[in-house]
């Protein structure tokens, strides 16, 4: 259990860092942020997308396996639901702190505008969160399979709707060609499935007890992860190559910012090398793809690398001025077309991630997340 001990230590340190970040956010409001009036969304919005997509991906995968009886994945429904719940919480916590008036979030329910994709998102998150709680309750109490199937049939389209819906949140922005991509809802769904599978692979390889069907589970996740990683790479290539070939200046500028801008390394090293290429090599390799630690490592790499996927959608879309002369029209704090998160922003993200990790580990220890019929290997 060395991985788990290491995780506990990392979580403890990260929670202290997170507490400092939260203190900065509470005492300074948004003044401490690196995002501004042009790049209005930054690390927190990106991490919100990242975590809700993990929630959607894990849930869709596990629920499909459960509904169609795909073994051994189908036996891990309650674990999947719990990961989705914790991940959804981490995502929503990010966006809560990102709001100018967080305590007014209830207004989205009290006086919603249904012309906004954001309203649609908030409502589906709320329904999805409630559904997860009900599902866990049923799992831990009666375990009524018929009821769980009904709940799964309701939850599946919800999860597809909000993971694709996040893509629509950006896709509907006609004035920003980098975001105005019709296939965004679909590619976001693929990203969700890839990151969700990656988290499951990591958890199964390093954190689950050594149960009888663990090896079969890992092999299954290994194949699925490879498919999703390749699909993600295809969508990325299609998007960027068409953007560059189409030569729409705003779009080209945004793509060039990603691949050759000041943060090129976030794309080439974190997103492509760590998030796509290295995991694909491991998962394609005939021997490595069968080894539990190697598949777990591939999962960790995809999960880490995909943080850059989100940042590379949110930030470049805002970093190219709507009108070029805006760059020099007005100067002051928070008026830059360059963005790099501040220490306080990083700290909050580290803290929320650690909190999610803490909740997961405590849940794994205290809740009956493992199917009681499974025996130790």
């Amino acid at each position: 259990m060395k991985v788990r001990q290491l995780l506990w230590i990392l979580i403890a340190i990260a929670l202290v860092i997170g507490a400092w970040g939260l203190f900065q956010r509470i005492t300074q409001g948004h003044e401490m942020a690196g995002y501004g009036n042009y790049i209005v969304w930054g690390l927190w919005t990106s991490m919100y997308l990242y975590f809700v997509e993990i929630a959607a991906g894990v849930y869709i995968l596990i629920t499909l396996a459960f509904l169609y009886g795909v073994q051994p994945l189908a036996r891990w429904l309650r674990l999947g639901i719990f990961i989705a719940l914790v991940s959804l919480m981490a995502g929503l916590l990010h966006i809560f702190l990102d709001l100018g008036h967080p305590w007014r979030f209830w207004k989205v329910f009290a006086s919603p505008s249904f012309t906004s994709v954001m309203t649609f998102m908030v409502w589906t998150y709320a329904l999805f969160g409630l559904l997860l709680l009900v599902q866990l309750y049923v799992e831990f109490t009666s375990g009524d399979e018929r009821l769980l199937r009904v709940l799964g049939i309701i939850g599946l389209p919800l999860a597809v709707a909000f993971s694709g819906g996040v893509g629509a949140l950006f896709g509907v922005q006609g004035a920003r060609p980098f975001w105005h991509v019709g296939m965004f809802p679909i590619s976001f769904l693929i990203t969700a499935l890839a990151s969700g599978t990656a988290v499951l692979a990591f958890v199964a390889a390093f954190l689950l007890p050594k149960l009888e069907d663990r090896e079969a589970l890992i092999r299954q996740l290994s194949r699925l992860l490879l498919i999703f990683v390749v699909a993600e790479a295809l969508f990325l290539f299609a998007d960027y190559s068409i953007s560059l070939y189409g030569a729409l200046p705003h779009n080209v500028a945004a793509v060039l910012l990603v691949i050759a801008g000041p943060h090129w390394w976030a794309f080439w090293i974190i997103q492509v090398l760590i998030g796509l290429v290295l995991p694909a090599v491991i998962l394609f390799h005939p021997r490595w793809s069968q080894q539990i630690p190697a598949v777990g490592l591939a999962g960790l790499m995809v999960a880490f690398g995909f943080t850059a996927v989100r940042l590379n959608i949110v930030v470049p879309g805002l970093a190219v001025p709507e009108i070029e002369a805006l760059r020099t029209a007005y100067f002051g704090p928070h008026l830059s077309f360059y963005y790099f998160p501040t220490l306080a922003e990083w700290a909050v993200t580290i803290g929320i991630t650690a909190l999610a990790g803490l909740l997961f580990l405590v849940g794994l220890d205290r809740l009956p997340l493992v199917d009681p019929d499974l025996r130790e290997a």
Partner: protein, 240 residues
């Protein structure tokens, strides 16, 4: 007619146009701004007038002047394009707001309800003109013994509400934008940027009134609007 007299007449004429518009029902008005780029000298008096009127903080300016240099020395020309909010007739910022905090008034002005805005900034990303700003809570007095600066403690009258900007309260944490000085309009006064323009390059009035100065100018002169291809139908027109 002497230039000064002509300028005074323009101000009086626009004032009369506003009075006439105010006598009509709100939904029969269409407030519009016309900016003559051949007269703009890029002095930013409009920016300063707006700052003074609305007491906007450091990162927020409802009006800015876009500047672009064209040509090669010695044949160089600098073009100035003042940019208030375009008050689009098809505003992309309105439908994206999840709580109806930003809305289009019957007279065409896109307004924000500060008490309703949750500060999600989705509208900022939707605006194709960079005309929306988030109030981060900064003060011009920061780094000095007087924070906030004295003039920042004076009340504003935005949207007809007497409001002093205080930490942890709206409009801090809200998105803010130009509203054509709606509070002045309702009192029969011109927007601050119109009254203070030193070159009289800015005109204001009711576009639904064929006798208004703005209607006349748009009928007589060639005009264009920013990023018209997006279909936002701005209520700010430029003469060139």
């Amino acid at each position: 007619m002497p230039v000064v007299m002509e300028m005074e007449n323009t101000i009086l004429r626009m004032g009369e146009d506003i009075q006439r518009a105010l006598r009509k029902a709100v939904d029969e008005r269409h407030w519009a701004m016309v900016i003559d780029l051949t007269k703009c000298v890029g002095c930013e008096s409009c920016t300063i007038a707006c700052k003074a009127e609305n007491k906007t903080p450091p990162s927020v300016s409802y009006n800015i002047v876009l500047k672009e240099e064209t040509g090669t020395y010695p044949n160089v020309r600098e073009v100035f394009v003042p940019r208030p909010c375009m008050q689009c007739q098809e505003p992309p910022c309105v439908p994206v707001c999840p709580v109806r905090a930003t809305f289009q008034r019957p007279d065409g002005i896109v307004a924000i309800d500060y008490d309703q805005c949750i500060g999600c900034r989705y509208c900022v990303t939707a605006c194709p003109y960079g005309a929306r700003s988030f109030d981060f809570g900064e003060s011009y007095g920061e780094g000095t013994p007087q924070t906030p600066a004295v003039y920042e403690t004076v009340a504003t009258y935005e949207y007809g509400k007497v409001q002093v900007r205080r930490q942890d309260a709206s409009p801090i944490g809200n998105v803010r934008k130009c509203h054509f000085c709606l509070h002045r309009l309702n009192e029969g006064l011109l927007p601050a940027c119109i009254s203070d323009c030193i070159g009289r390059s800015r005109y204001f009035g009711d576009l639904s009134d064929p006798d208004s100065l703005v209607s006349e100018l748009l009928a007589e002169r060639y005009s264009f609007r920013l990023r018209e291809e997006l279909g936002t139908k701005p209520s700010v027109f430029y003469l060139s």
